[in-house]
Symmetry: C2
Subunit: 506 residues, 2 copies
């Protein structure tokens, strides 16, 4: 993969398979992305991003290698500050591939990132979990395992995620091993590795190599999520991980994180411009480490209550940049992670949770994004993964995947009209019977029956039905097969790494 | 208003006022409509609509006047069947105005229907109401009054609606008088009159004339909703009302009502084509009664569970035609009512209710529609208006009205960056302080505070907070002023009409 763009045009439709319960195959959208902004507005935002990079600049803390790479590429490096003449960063991004695959352990689950492909993923990063039986509590490795299993079982999530929840009962300096092991053995979908420094990233890559072998020299099998310390700062812990993944040719997602009014201006157009500047700089660094390294243009932004300063999600002011940022990424010519999918600030899985989540998800899906992070489970601004919300969100994910299939317009049901006519019911027509099974998406827990039936059955709200649902799905989980010698090699590697240093708990 | 298009180009921006608590003034969207289908697909749908009208035809039951009007216009009338050569119906629609106002009793609430104007309205037609205190029950006139008052109080609903709930404690043959009186006196926003036959429609018009006087000769002050008995049937009760409103130059909305698989084919493209055919025929009839009569192209369609036959709302398969039908209406050149706004099949105001409602609302708003019916209150597939759901939906309406304002792209916050820099917080910048008050929409009942605070306050779900909210709003309601002689004239008219016939209860 040295030089050039070896990730491009691989895979294609070869990975396509008929839908089955744990794999839809690749999802391709057939409805156009929404064009929120016109090209003159997009031009203006690009110019403002260049202005930020030239006049304000970025800072790289604790990463002399990164500073040296930028200096060599022509940037103006002064201490930790890096400034760029207009257009320089964009030109450095030009070698990032427009299209690539994330190869899964089961090839049927390999995903493609580009164009009209769409990938949904579970939530990321919550220190807490909650369910209706046990309430809110710190997340453990057992919770981590459960969410990996629930994700593996869902046909609506095409990616196993990363730090789905924080396994707080495992030492902080060793939990990355358990998380990567869980992704590699409890799931056979693509996944994310650790980003808590270069060493943990390298451990993640080494473990993946025990499973995927030398094919990793030629393709990406994993992804690292590099958060920007917005505004305009990259931390050495993160860029160390970035450089490890890039060096290994694995996918790097650059995620600016801007809450308007705090980590950037309160106005949407500025959130967009700053996100664009920050994402481009991270992408440029990947290319300086290894030309052709596959990247994802990330965006994570939202709003604050300007009464209380609390973070808000699913707001109108957050939906707008979500839609515009996918336009910016398409201009840059790289795949984009838009959103926050189903994100909310609600403290429980109620109507607020679903209204906010659905708004965030609609803006994300309409944007034409390639990866939707946090598509299931998120509550409380990401502090909590909810088992019930996870099941509730999956119904919405399924509906969204149906919606992006669009409308078949190649034929009309003329015979159905010939069979019926004005005032008659279409239920028994040949056309209806032919389309009956597949016409409409069937949610798992939404109910549409009469009030009386629902009342007699105990007036269960959606979260209560979701409680039944996730347990039933978990009960059916089966660990995907893995070669015993590979499993042993992984366990040996982990034992070795664990012995390397003392446990750390904070 | 005889001949020509006198409703066009009136009003313009003259009605604009600064936002205040009970009136935002006119809402104009600044974000583009979503273009789901390309022009070749839209062409194909128009051709299929023509095919339906030529080969299958429409039926008009119990309305010889309508049949005669169509015969005189060149249609092929055979008994109750009316068929049209391709293009005929579309050409009959050509005199319908592209733009008109619905003049409100308080001019500040006058709305414009066309182009980028947007009007949100409460639910319509529920026989039941529910609230958390008293539970589910038949709706009464008192409930009707309460929802008119809640609508009047909301800055997010620009129209008082019609049969917001069925006042089941008033005789069926007289309740239209009470409903129109309530709209005319408890509200000063535009409203809908009765459509339960020509006589009730004329009563509604006569009552409006007692308030608006002769200005009704030159403008529309009310709207009648003409449901189609889909598939492809107009009932004489409805078309009688249609002709009364059209003759009086008042606005007529034609509302096909198609649940795919029952009142039309199960496939979306056919739901679109049939809606288009039915809507055009209704609009054509208004123009045959009175050229230039203001119309709204309606669409009301949804899906069924193909397991149980129960109606489903907010589904992916329903969102797609919602977006396409606004495109069809724009082609025809008339304002469009898209949706169902916040509609759901859920039996309570839970997460399902808000997820489905939000999906339906997003597709409606993205479509570029002009009128959003059922934007607040709807539960149980429209059987129930919920006081709590009403308050919950209003938060979403407010957010949507913010979203359609789009992104201001004319300037960037360069000074904010000059004041701060990498790694610094933007909260105290001049830019943030300047934009602080108006930067973000503030919902009334959504909460974003920490879990601990929420838990200590009793773990209230959104519907519980909504219960407090609607009572507090209702407590602040004040009846808008009305001339005492006008009020007396309305009451006298109603007494006279009530004395005309015996009470009927079904």
């Amino acid at each position: 993969m040295a030089g050039g763009e070896p990730h491009k045009r691989r895979g294609g439709r070869a990975g396509h398979v008929a839908p089955k319960r744990t794999a839809f195959g690749k999802i391709r959208r057939k409805i156009p992305p929404y064009q929120l902004l016109d090209s003159s507005a997009l031009d203006a935002i690009e110019i403002q991003a260049d202005w930020i990079l030239e006049r304000i600049g970025m800072e790289f803390h604790g990463d002399d290698v990164a500073l040296e790479l930028f200096r060599a590429a022509g940037a103006d490096v002064d201490g930790v500050s890096v400034k760029f003449e207009p257009g320089l960063v964009r030109s450095l991004c030009a070698t990032a591939p427009r299209q690539f695959d994330l190869v899964a352990r089961d090839p049927v689950n390999t995903i493609t990132l580009c164009g009209d492909y769409l990938v949904l993923m579970p939530g990321y990063g919550s220190p807490f979990v909650t369910d209706l039986d046990r309430g809110r509590r710190y997340a453990t490795l057992d919770d981590f395992h459960k969410f990996i299993k629930l994700t593996q079982m869902s046909p609506y999530l095409q990616h196993s995620g990363g730090t789905v929840v924080e396994p707080t009962d495992v030492p902080v300096n060793k939990r990355h091993l358990d998380m990567v092991y869980a992704h590699l053995t409890l799931s056979n979908k693509p996944f994310m590795g650790a980003v808590t420094g270069a060493v943990h990233a390298q451990d993640s890559i080494d473990m993946a190599r025990l499973v995927f072998g030398d094919m990793m020299d030629n393709c990406a099998v994993m992804q690292g999520n590099i958060n920007v310390n917005s505004p305009l700062v990259f931390d050495g812990v993160m860029t160390g991980a970035l450089r490890a993944y890039a060096k290994a040719g694995q996918c790097v997602c650059i995620s600016p994180a801007i809450f308007g009014g705090a980590m950037g201006p309160v106005t949407q157009v500025d959130v967009i411009a700053q996100t664009h500047a920050e994402a481009m700089v991270g992408i440029a660094l990947t290319q300086l480490v290894r030309r052709g390294c596959p990247v994802v243009y990330g965006s994570f932004h939202s709003t604050m209550s300007l009464k209380s300063g609390a973070l808000t999600f699913g707001s109108a002011e957050a939906s707008l940049p979500t839609m515009a940022l996918a336009q910016m990424a398409r201009r840059l010519g790289v795949p984009v992670r838009s959103g926050g999918g189903q994100i909310t600030s609600s403290n429980c899985a109620d109507g607020q949770a679903m209204a906010e989540s659905n708004s965030a998800m609609w803006s994300t899906i309409m944007s034409g994004t390639h990866q939707v992070w946090h598509a299931a489970g998120w509550l409380e601004g990401g502090l909590v993964m909810s088992y019930e919300k996870f099941a509730m969100d999956l119904d919405q994910c399924g509906a969204m995947l149906r919606m992006v299939q669009g409308i078949e317009t190649s034929e009309f049901a003329k015979d159905a009209y010939r069979e019926t006519g004005p005032g008659q019911n279409f239920l028994a027509t040949t056309h209806t019977l032919e389309h009956f099974r597949d016409a409409n998406f069937q949610p798992d827990i939404a109910e549409c029956g009469p009030y009386e039936t629902w009342a007699e059955a105990g007036e269960q709200t959606l979260d209560q039905r979701a409680n039944t649902r996730w347990k039933s799905v978990l009960g059916r989980y089966q660990r995907p097969e893995i070669d015993a010698s590979v499993d042993t090699a992984l366990l040996d590697f982990m034992a070795q790494r664990r012995a390397r240093e003392e446990d750390m708990w904070y």
